[in-house]
């Protein structure tokens, strides 16, 4: 995108500020942590992609991914978690996102927001009930890139990519949305 002399304007439009970008990421994190998945789905553009590669891969079809969700598969993912008894999410994961190191590459109508995220996750059995893999608090560390597009009066996610630090290692249950 060609930038104008004015630092806060890109091609005459108000650029995405760092404050706005952070607020966007914080809100997304809160929607996920509060399990407001239907609202989370609305953050994406219709052609938006949510991609968590399993290894370094130039595009989501070169190698199998951990998550490779277009709109339909995101909807399926939310349906599965909220409307069916998926054993791997029963009990469900609790998550807590920390968002940091936010950088903005302003553009119009698309902007790139880079961040580092740590997602803490636990499936608690509740009380004293335990089985293997329950009750263990796990950390996912990820480098994130949100490609946002200004559409219908708001910034929306055209592509969210998360490169997990342990993406090519043996990894356990990742059936929660992060």
């Amino acid at each position: 995108m060609k930038k104008t002399a004015h630092p806060e304007l890109v091609e005459g439009r108000a650029a995405l500020s760092k404050d706005e970008a952070e607020a966007f990421l914080y809100r997304e994190a809160r929607l996920l942590d509060e399990r407001r998945f239907d609202e989370w789905l609305m953050l994406f553009t219709a052609d938006g992609l949510y991609w968590v590669p399993a290894e370094d891969s130039p595009d989501p079809y070169a190698k199998v991914s951990l998550i490779h969700d277009d709109a339909l598969r995101r909807e399926e993912r939310v349906f599965r978690i909220t409307r069916t008894t998926a054993h791997s999410q029963d009990p469900a994961s609790r998550t807590l996102h920390l968002v940091s190191n936010v950088e903005v590459e302003a553009g119009w109508p698309e902007a790139v927001v880079r961040s580092n995220q740590i997602v803490t996750e636990i499936r608690a059995g509740g009380g004293n009930y335990r089985h293997y893999e329950l009750g263990e608090q796990r950390l996912l560390a990820a480098r994130c890139e949100h490609r946002l597009r200004h559409e219908s009066g708001a910034w929306r996610i055209a592509r969210k990519t998360m490169w997990l630090l342990n993406r090519d290692m043996p990894i356990g249950n990742l059936t929660f949305i992060f």
Partner: protein
């Protein structure tokens, strides 16, 4: 009931196979001593899958893997030969290759620098002059496995000099392995789509037994059938289901068969899609079927194209477009590497469709396999109640039939495959 203070058992007491009784002792999933013996008698003696030739296509390509707990290197030498070498320096025992895959003319031990060629030969030793006259480099190459078999690109290795040849080991399961590979119009699969690497807190045998279990799907994967009912197959087709109505799916799941083979191989078969094979269909799917028809003839297609979930004893599955390697780490810890493969010679659109179906059901974030893994975790937990001792595996024992060559065929929900696995397990452990 056995006294817990003295965990003494004969290894052949752990599988009871007598008339209408078939039970296995829970200790085989939990006991560290039994696990150690498995690493010797099961993994140290069977033919174990180590690689596919397409993973190491060029001279000096290598990958590392394990046979049981043993680290091994699968290496292609300059002349194209594939060597399977124990990844242990002959000097003081360090691994000499520390990467999952790569290309290297030499593997050099990081500790003192002993350096080996791609064929395992010891080619250089730093400051060699200090060794006694008897020091003979030609006897100190990386130790090769006893034998290597390349079956249509699948590389198997055994540490047993006296193992049967690999085709005899496959026995009657060979026909079905061929059918799987014949899904490729070129007769060849290619592993070039990366891997899902997963881990779970449970015994390695759970994953192998489950891979041919036609009984668990209705309960364990109910979530997935509901998803198919709601969204259809647009997001990627799983298995041979044309219908997506949940009642029709559950009915379809009663059709097919299970097989138990000699030597512990096992299979779950689901029939052709209810719509049949349309070799007249326009587009890539029709092109694909026509290519197979031209090669094998129409009648053979009905044999080649059902869904076959095949496991080869002890720890590899070839099923649903993937090679699944189950790697034991500890009695209650297992890693599984799943590699989707491409069908060489199939239209790109067909491989893409398989890719989408695979991703929907398999991998740590998918909608299918994580629910299986949850079962392995609750299974391992329940088995801590050791006083119960036995797991019951008699399902279908009276309705399965013998089919010659030691093959038994059961109803699709029967435990014929698991019994075949445990018979081989018992035989190997008692030997």
């Amino acid at each position: 009931m056995r006294n817990r203070d003295e965990l003494r058992y004969d290894l052949d007491e752990l599988v009871i196979d007598a008339g209408d009784d078939f039970r296995v002792n829970g200790l085989m999933y939990t006991d560290p001593h039994i696990f150690e013996i498995e690493m010797e008698r099961i993994f140290g003696r069977s033919w174990v899958y180590v690689a596919h030739a397409s993973e190491i296509p060029n001279p000096f390509d290598f990958k590392t893997t394990t046979i049981g707990l043993r680290p091994v290197i699968v290496s292609r030498a300059e002349n194209g030969d594939i060597h399977v070498l124990l990844n242990r320096c002959r000097h003081r025992g360090s691994v000499v290759c520390r990467f999952e895959t790569g290309n290297a003319r030499f593997h050099s031990c990081r500790y003192h620098g002993w350096t080996y060629g791609a064929d395992g030969a010891l080619v250089s030793v730093p400051q060699e002059g200090a060794y006694p006259k008897s020091f003979d480099k030609s006897r100190l190459g990386l130790m090769p496995v006893a034998r290597v078999a390349n079956y249509r690109g699948l590389i198997f290795a055994t540490l047993a000099e006296d193992a049967p040849d690999f085709v005899s080991y496959l026995g009657a399961a060979k026909r079905f392995l061929d059918y799987q590979l014949d899904h490729s119009p070129a007769g060849e699969i290619v592993l070039n789509r990366g891997a899902h690497r997963t881990e779970y807190q449970g015994n390695w045998k759970f994953q192998i037994e489950n891979s041919t279990d036609g009984y668990h799907g209705n309960t364990v994967h109910e979530s997935f059938w509901k998803l198919m009912h709601e969204f259809g197959n647009r997001g990627g087709q799983h298995g041979n289901y044309a219908a997506t109505d949940i009642r029709k799916i559950l009915k379809r799941r009663e059709q097919g068969a299970v097989y138990g083979f000699e030597n512990g191989h096992a299979m779950l078969e689901y029939p052709l899609p209810e719509t049949g094979l349309d070799t007249k269909a326009p587009g890539p799917q029709g092109d694909y079927l026509r290519a197979l028809e031209a090669k094998h003839g129409r009648a053979a297609l009905d044999l080649i194209m059902p869904q076959y979930n095949l496991t080869i004893f002890p720890n590899v599955g070839i099923l649903l477009d993937q090679i699944r390697v189950v790697r034991p780490i500890a009695p209650d810890r297992t890693e599984v590497t799943i590699q989707l493969y491409d069908l060489a010679g199939a239209p790109e659109a067909v491989n893409r469709q398989r890719f989408e179906g695979y991703e929907r059901f398999f991998g740590p974030s998918s909608f299918g396999s994580p629910d299986d893994v949850e079962m392995f975790a609750i299974n391992q937990t329940g088995l801590q109640a050791k006083e119960v001792e036995w797991l019951v595996l008699t399902r279908g024992l009276e309705r399965e039939r013998a089919d010659g060559d030691g093959v038994r065929i059961g109803h699709v929900t029967d435990e014929t495959p698991q019994r075949a696995f445990h018979r081989a397990w018992k035989k190997a452990m008692a030997a």
